[in-house]
Amino acid sequence: MADTAVKTHREPLFHVVKRDDMPWWKAWAIRAATIVIAFFIVGLLSAAVTEKSFGETYSVMFSGVFGRLFEGRTTMLWKYLQEIAILLCLALALTPAFKMKFWNCGAEGQALMGGLAPIVCMIELGPKLPYPVLIAVIAITSIIAGAIWGVIPAIFKAWFNTNETLFTLMMNYIATQIIAYYVYLKGGGSNVINPVEYGNFPAVGNNNYFINIVVVAVITVIMYIYLKYSKQGYEISVVGESQNTARYIGINVKKVIIRTMVISGALCGVTGMLLVAGTDHSININSVGGQGFTAILMSWLGQFNPFIMVIMTALVVFLRIGVSKVADTALLNSSFSEIMVGLVILLLVGCEFFINYSIKFKHSKKEARV
C-alpha cells in the first residue's frame, strides 16, 4: 500500500510557489544585491576578456562614462545625462500604456516619427520661418506625429480588439522604412542627411544637452504625479486590472485606451524631437538605436515608477557606455558592450522571478515541519 502511494504521488524535484509576503525592504535588498553581483560579473568577464586587472577595468569603465571629470571637463558627464534622459523619456512614454496592460512595443517607431517631423520642418521650413515660430512648429508636429503613430494601433485595439503587440511592432518597420526613404530623398550621394543648421534647440552655456535633460526631468515629475494622483492615472490602473470592472464602474474603456496611447505616442514623439532638434540635427534609421526596446525593460524594471526608472536607466546607460569603453580600450569589437548589458538585464529580470516566487525543494526542512 505504502509503496503504491509513493509512486502515484511522485513529487517533482522542486516546485514554484507564488509569494506575496516579501516585505519591500527585502525585495529591494535582493535587487540591490543583484545589481552588485551583476556589476561584479561584468567586471570579471571584462577583465578576463581584456586581460586587464579587475580594478583597472572599473576605472576604465568609470572614465568612459565620466571622462576626465576630475580635470574639470564636464562634457562626458553631460553626455551621460543626455543618454539617460533619452532612454528614460522613452520608458516614461511606455509606462502609462503598460499600466493599462496595453503592450506598446512601438516606442522605436513612434520616436522615429516624432523625429521625422522636426527634420522635415528644419529642412523645408528652416530658412522661411522665424526661429521661435519654427521651434513651436517643430514641437507641435513632432508631438502629433508620435501621437498618430501610437493611436493607430490603439484605435484598432479599442474597436476590433487586434493584438497591439504585433501591431505596434509592425508600425516600427513602417516608420523605419519611411525614414529610410526620406534619407534617400534628402541624403544625396552619401545617403546621409548632413546636420541641418535651422531649428536647433539653443545650447545653454555651450551645452547642447541641457535643455533635453531639463525637459525629461520635468516629464518625469509630471508622469509620477499623473499616474499616482490624477483621476486619469487611476482610470489607467483600473482598466489595466480588469476591463470589466472598469466598465462596471462607468469608465469608458475605449476612451481610456485611446487617450493613454495618444499620451504614450506623444511622449515618444517628444523623445524623437529631443534627439533630432536637440542634439543630432539629422536623422537616420538608427537614430533611436533600439532604445525603444530597451525602454520596455526599463519601464518594467522600474516597476512603472518614474523615479525608480531613473535609477535603472542610469545603471544601464552607465554599463552601456562604460563597457563599450573597456572594449574600445582593449581594441575589442564594440558588440561586447551589448552582450554585457544584455547579461545584466537578464540578471535583473531573473531576480524579479525570485522576488515574486519561491522555489520549494522536495523534502525540504520547511515543508517537513508543515
Partner: protein, 403 residues
Amino acid sequence: MKKIIALLLAVAMLFCFAGCGTKDTNSDADAAKSDLKVGFIFLHDEQSTYDKNFMDAAKAACDAMGVEYAQKTQIPESQKCYDAAVELIETDGCDIIFADSFGHESFLIDAAKEYPDVEFCHATGTQAHTAGVANFHNAFASIYEGRYLAGVAAGLKLNEMIENKEITAEEAKMGYVGAFTFAEVISGYTSFYLGAKSVCPSVTMDVKFTGSWYDEQKEKEAAQALINGGCVLISQHADSMGAPTACETAGVPNVSYNGSTVAACPNTFIVSSRIDWTPYFKYMIEQVQNGEAIATDWTGTIETGSVVLTDVNEKAAAAGTAETIADVKAKLLDGTINVFDTANWTEKGVKLESYMADVDTDADFAKDTEAIENGVFYESKHRSAPYFDVMIDGITLLDTNFG
C-alpha cells in the same frame, strides 16, 4: 551565497594586485615615448576589409612613430561620429582625430569647429578645401593608378584565356561589383577597365551595384549574376568577402581590393590593389609633432607608398604578370602613361576635349572645374577624392544605385 561573494571578492583582489604589478612598467615605457595621442574612428570593425586596411595602417604607423592611439569601431555615419570624436578627445585626450568613412565628414566638421586645438583628418572626404575649417583635413590616394595596374593583370589573364582557346577575343568580358554609382566607384572601375584594355583591346565589362559598402550576401549574389551573365573575370569595389568567395566557388579569376584575399581564395585570387594609409598617418603625426600644418587636401600616390599592390598569386595569374606590372608602374611613375589619357577612351563614340567635374561640394552637385588638360583627365588633382564620373564606352552598367 556568502561563500560565493567571499570567493569572488578574493578573486577580484587577486586581479587588482596582478594589475598593480604590471601597470608601473607599462606607464614607464609609455612616458619615454611621446605624449601625442591619435584617435581613430572606424565605420565597421576588422571584419570589413576596408576598415581592416585602416586599422592595420593605424597600428603600423603609431607603433613606428612611438605614439599611443585609441580607437572606436562600428561608428555609423551619423551624430555617433561626432560623439565618438568628442569621447576620444574628452576621455582619451587625443590630439589628432581620424575618421575613415565618407559620410562621417559633416559630423566630424561639427566636432572640428568645437575643438580648434585638435587636428581632424578624414579619408575620402570632399569638403575640406571649401569648408574653411583650419583644423579639418581631407586625404585620399590616387588609387586609380593601383586599379589600372590591377587591370593590367586582369587583361593579361584574359589574353592567356584567349590563347588557350578557353574563350574567344569577343568573349573577353569582365564583371565588376560596385557599391554605389559614385565618382569614387566609377573612377575605380574605369581605371581598372582601362588597365585591362591596355593589354587586351577586345575587353568589355559589365558592372553591377549593391547599394552598400558592406553586404556580403548582396556582393556574392552580384558576382554570381555577373558570372552567369558570361563574365570570365571579376573585380569589385565593395568591402566584404562576398565577391572573392563567389569567384572561388565558381572557379572564376578575381582581382581583389583592399588587400590580399589569397588565403580564402587560393585558386582564383590574381592580385589586389589597396591604399596603404601608413604613409599618411605617419605624415599627420609628424606634422603635429613638429608643430606644422597638415595639408588641407592630401593625395597619396605610388611614389608616397600609399598606392600598393599585393604580391601576384602565380597560381591564378598569367605568366609574366609581375614583370609587366613592374614595367607599367615605372611608366606611371615617370609620366609616360596617364591612366585617363583621353586618347584611350571615348564617351558615346566621341573623344572628350573638355569635361567639367563636380569638385566643390554643394547641394546641387554643380559641375565647377575643368578636369581635362593637354588631352588627359587629371584625377585627384583638384582635390584628393575622385571626381571622374564619365560613363565610357565598353563598360555596361547593368543597374545603378545612387544610395
